[in-house]
Symmetry: C2
Subunit: 234 residues, 2 copies
């Protein structure tokens, strides 16, 4: 039996709690970060609070092993006196959506081998995938995640705006969006690159620029230049 | 029986030919754009050549109904003397990959109602989805497609580079990439936007910038500004 305390009622804390509460071999307690006074000790306290609260909250948790769930805070951002660790699920969470942790990568780190064993056991219970990632790598990974998640979604936002302006249903782009992301399973992104920037098709690039507003143009130009630069590196 | 001539042995021409050659009710001929002399007339000649060759090739095709497959050339870029049309499958094609046209959106346009009927029949045979899109809308759609396909893929390229530099397997980002694109099925991209730019988390933004090279920084800054501008419009 592994006893787990989850601190924090945000997206990550709530989803983890839901997933662990009926899991075999796990005893889980879910508490608010404002009520840390009388927690029973557990095998691991998982602090799932906003990045800037991790230091403060971890100093108040009286447990031998404390971990956080953040992609961008180093393990030593924890200020508890016992052992430390990181339990970072690399996925985008929305509170309403049901999240299945199956195959979700968990980036694990600990200053204690036994602590790492506990974290690995939790990932196995959740059917997630175990990755050992140190704090330095994790920070980089978090930036990479911004590109593939936040910035990619912003590409969808701009496309959605272009479609709205000309009464084109955004749905029409859905199969292309799905195919674009599925391609990464079979070929590297650099090999998958296509389009006017990649083939230096200046006429199409100019035609596209003429159809965009200033803010869209600036992004189009910047990304086109970048694609062309990467193309030359090959 | 619909008779179809496909001109051009590039990705689109080849995939269309493969998909149509065993289809019931279709008689398809596939020819090279350099051998246009002695083609038998058919119900529709589909010119699947590069954008800048469409004018020249269409002038040489002796058929009553000629269409092209391009997203960015207007219907009147065709220079045949008979009826004209557009048969634009909105998808990314790689020659080696098998392409299933099921549910692929086809953007159709014609100056002839009977021509449009023929194009609709072909889409039904391919199990695709019919959209009526005029030349002006199609040009905009093509730009939108550059954002969701070419530029999104470039986000993957940058993330891949960041991972490679720090010995992080790119695979670790795959579930996040898939989830990001699947979200568009249930919520609008603007509602799906998350991340440090969206929540004006200047500290994380600065930390991220410190980890990037100059070219990556410029893109990060430009996209962060754009996300913040869209956020204010809400």
């Amino acid at each position: 039996m592994i006893s787990v305390t989850i601190v924090g009622r945000g997206n990550v804390g709530t989803h983890l709690w839901k997933a662990l509460q009926n899991a075999e071999g796990i005893k889980v307690t879910h508490i608010d970060s404002r009520h840390l006074e009388a927690i029973e000790k557990s095998d691991v306290a998982i602090i799932a609070v906003s990045d800037d609260a991790i230091g403060e909250v971890s100093s108040q948790v009286n447990n031998d092993f404390v971990v956080h769930t953040s992609g961008s805070v180093s393990m030593n951002g924890l200020t508890n006196t016992g052992n430390k660790g990181v339990f970072y699920p690399l996925q985008t969470f929305t509170k309403d959506n049901e999240i299945d942790f199956t195959n979700i990568p968990f980036c694990l780190e600990s200053d204690d081998p036994m602590g790492l064993d506990i974290l690995e056991s939790l990932v196995k219970v959740l059917n997630g995938n175990i990755f050992h990632v140190n704090s330095d790598q994790r920070k980089r990974l978090h930036v990479a995640a911004v590109f593939v998640n936040n910035f990619t979604n912003h590409m969808y936002v701009i496309a959605h705006e272009i479609c709205s302006q000309y009464n084109i249903p955004f749905d029409i782009l859905e199969p292309l969006i799905i195919e674009t992301c599925k391609k990464i399973k079979s070929i590297s992104p650099l090999d998958a690159q296509t389009g006017p920037a990649k083939r230096n098709d200046e006429e199409t690039i100019q035609n596209h620029l003429n159809l965009l507003n200033q803010s869209q143009q600036e992004i189009y130009i910047k990304l086109t230049e970048s694609i062309q630069t990467y193309g030359k590196k090959l």
